[in-house]
Amino acid sequence: MGGGILILFKHKDLLGLKDITAAEINFLLDTAVPMKEIISRPIKKVPTLRGRTVVNLFYENSTRTRGSFELAAKHLSADSINISSSSSSVAKGESLYDTARTIQSLGADVVILRHPMAGAAQLLAGTVEAAVINAGDGAHEHPTQALLDLFTVRERRGEIAGLRVLIVGDILHSRVARSDIWGFTKMGAEVRVCGPPTLVPPGLEETGARVYYNLEEALVDVDVVIMLRIQKERQQQGLFPGLREYARLYGLNRERLALARKDALVMHPGPVNRGVEIASDIADGPAAVIEEQVTNGVAVRMALLYLLTGGGDRHENDY
């Protein structure tokens, strides 16, 4: 069609949602729709990335995220190599920079990095030619988790703009919270965060989010509740007194959920501490879309792999 090529997603890497636009997020989510259709087929495989190599470089254990990325690569017929901290020279003290050089010489097309330190994905992206997907770097960002959250909400609600989204828990250490704040804010939702003051970092208001310390107040009229996982080690660090008190103040139960809108969705990046973050009847109830998030995660990651191995031009030619 006349008018040439309209570039809709042009990034070498996906390091976070802070640096991409609402239009790009929308395009990513649009691309995930046909990907989800592929997952629903009996033969869940297309030949798109045949001959392409995807390296899963995981410095932290994450069965869920890694499994989701592996499946996404498989559905697109890419070859995957797994390098994890237990099997690679990571354990021998090889630096990320050295590992990056090795990956460069392997000729990988995409590297998926999970790392305990913020900024690691950016460091890697600056070192390798391959596209880098940040699968979580320290407390910085976890963009694919936020994308699947956005996809899930958009699929359920049709539109994200105008919704009220509440994120509850350990905001301080949560990369999911940061990516969700950027993502939902960019898409026009009102974002609230809630947690104990010791787990809410300063300056959050500057991102556009509203901060609450009282869960009941925060829940009023929200459309989406994202509950974050609380880690017991934060108790040892003196950031909160214990899981029992945490659950009493910040656990989501039936009475509290009633404060939200009737059709509110309950989400969780998993794995859920039942009875702590979310009461069992809520986790298994109709409001929870936690299982759906898992399926959508694969679709979103397929879309991302596809777009990062070439981009996404509106491109109609003589083919």
């Binding site: 297309v46 596809y306 191995t309 981009g311 031009d313 491109h315």
Partner: protein, 182 residues
């Protein structure tokens, strides 16, 4: 992108209508009716063509033939050579393919690569009894051993030329024009 200039209008609205009517008759004749027949249009302009064929078949035979939509983007063999990949859209084939006679429908048959991708895509959806191909225009220059079972019009062209099919549903007008690089 090179600039293209319209060189000649080779088929008009009536021409397209007549060609589709003839193809519809040929499909019914060749398949001895419409039993187990399904139509699958290849995005984009194969889709309205498939719908029109289904409509004509219904008018002739009185039976409804299901129409599906195929997006072949993820099956293209040139993805690794393109600097940017095309937009993926959804495949919508909401009926089983297994054991069916599938009529693939596209606007222009050219190198054959689109059809090669479409064959893979269809087979990934299930195992059909057979696959047949209907194209409004066959402009030659095949790069693969693929031929159409039903052709609206053979249009010999040079490589410098391109054939543009415009349809009401997508372009607001029914016509086929030959474009030339300027």
């Amino acid at each position: 992108m090179p600039n293209l200039k319209e060189k000649a209008r080779i088929i008009d609205k009536d021409g397209i209508r007549r060609a589709l009517t003839r193809i519809a008759h040929e499909i019914i004749e060749r398949n001895k009716g419409t039993e187990d027949l399904v139509l699958i249009g290849i995005r984009r302009r194969g889709v309205p063509l498939a719908r029109r064929l289904a409509e004509k078949i219904r008018a002739i035979e009185g039976s409804r033939v299901p129409v599906g939509i195929l997006d072949i983007t993820l099956y293209r063999d040139d993805l690794s050579t393109l600097s940017h990949q095309p937009v993926v859209r959804q495949t919508e084939v909401n009926f089983p393919i297994k054991g069916k006679k599938v009529i693939l429908v596209d606007d222009v048959l050219f190198t054959g690569r689109t059809i090669r991708a479409a064959l893979d895509a269809v087979i990934d959806l299930g195992r059909p009894r057979n696959i047949q191909l209907a194209a409004l225009i066959d402009r030659g220059h095949r790069e693969l051993p693929i031929r159409a079972d039903y052709v609206g019009k053979n249009v010999p062209t040079s490589r410098r030329e391109s054939v543009a099919v415009h349809l009401e549903e997508t372009d607001g007008v029914d016509e086929v024009v030959i474009m030339e690089k300027t």
